[in-house]
């Protein structure tokens, strides 16, 4: 029973992973790609690790999977934040269909 629940959780996680990577390929600029890829792949891998935890039961492996899950939940948004800031500072423009860019306006104002 628990292995069935684990397999279902793993399947959901893998589907989210796949959709995140499709978003990485399809979306038009760096910031949108970051949005899709970070959210979907983070939650997908967390589902995958929790599926591993459920089907393994209480053991050293599942404790390590829990630690890995916490690490991923902390590091993935931080890395996305760093890349977005770096991309904007290095002068990558937003997609031409974008509505507004308050950050660039404020940076222009400071100069």
């Amino acid at each position: 029973m628990s292995s069935l629940i684990g397999l279902i959780l793993m399947g959901i996680g893998l589907l989210f992973d796949l959709f995140g990577c499709i978003g990485l390929v399809r979306l038009p600029d760096v910031y949108n790609r970051l949005q899709a890829a970070t959210k979907c792949v983070t939650l997908g891998t967390c589902f995958l690790l929790s599926g591993v935890m459920v089907s393994e039961g209480v053991s050293a492996l599942s404790v390590k999977a829990l630690v890995c899950m916490i690490f991923i939940l902390i590091i993935s948004p931080t890395a996305a934040h760093a890349i977005a800031r770096g991309a904007h500072l290095s002068g990558v423009k937003l997609w031409e269909g974008s509505v507004c860019d308050k950050y660039a306006e404020d940076r222009e104002g400071k100069k």
Binding site: F16, F19, G20, I22, G23, R26, L27, P28, D29, Y31, N32, L34, Q35, A36, T38, K39, C40, T42, L43, V58, S59, A60, V63, K64, L66, V67, L73, I74, P77, T78, A80, H81, A84, R85, H88, L94, W95, G97, S98, V99, C100, D101, K102, Y103, A104, D106
Partner: protein, 169 residues
């Protein structure tokens, strides 16, 4: 006090990473245990200067209860965000309307702002780009509904701010 707290935290991390206790046989790996005590002592002697300035906050039980309440709220918004992104990615016309807006936060402490930015990044259609010293956060929004700072703040930040204030401030 700070050294002792750092020692406890690093020893707990060591414990979780190596896991010297075997569940099935109930045996303990004392060698790994001793090495863990040595490594945690070394860390607490050397790196106490980059640890948090107010360790007494770590021992208040109320914060952990609010944190337990925060987990399901965060999980709900996270799953919602993912379904939203999957819809936008798989839709053949890609209904996106992106832009960078500016929001204001009341939170002061560094850990609270870090947690807020990470939560914003993992929830529907938003990604924090940069933050200023006077409490403004620039957010990339995949579907901009209002460019005004106040309205955007209400829509993005307020729902997490109330809980995070009680956990980290």
């Amino acid at each position: 006090m700070r050294r002792l707290t750092l020692f406890l935290i690093s020893f707990l991390t060591w414990w979780l990473l190596t896991w010297p206790y075997d569940f099935s046989s109930g045996q303990m790996d004392w060698q790994s245990f001793a090495l863990g005590i040595f490594a945690a002592g070394l860390v607490s002697l050397l790196f106490v200067s980059i640890f948090t300035k107010s360790p007494h906050k770590l021992f208040i039980l109320k914060r952990y209860l609010w944190f337990l309440y925060y987990i399901p709220v965060f999980f709900y918004y996270c799953v919602k965000a993912n379904l939203d992104v999957v819809y936008r990615v798989l839709h053949p016309k890609m209904p996106i309307n992106p832009g960078i807006v500016k929001v204001r936060t009341k939170l002061k402490s560094e850990s609270a702002i870090t947690a807020l930015c990470n939560s914003i990044t993992l929830t529907p259609g938003t990604l924090s780009v940069d933050l200023t010293d006077d409490g403004y956060i620039y957010i990339h929004w995949i579907n901009v509904t209002s460019q005004d700072t106040k309205k955007a703040t209400e829509e993005i930040v307020t729902k997490f701010e109330k809980i995070l204030e009680r956990i980290f401030e």
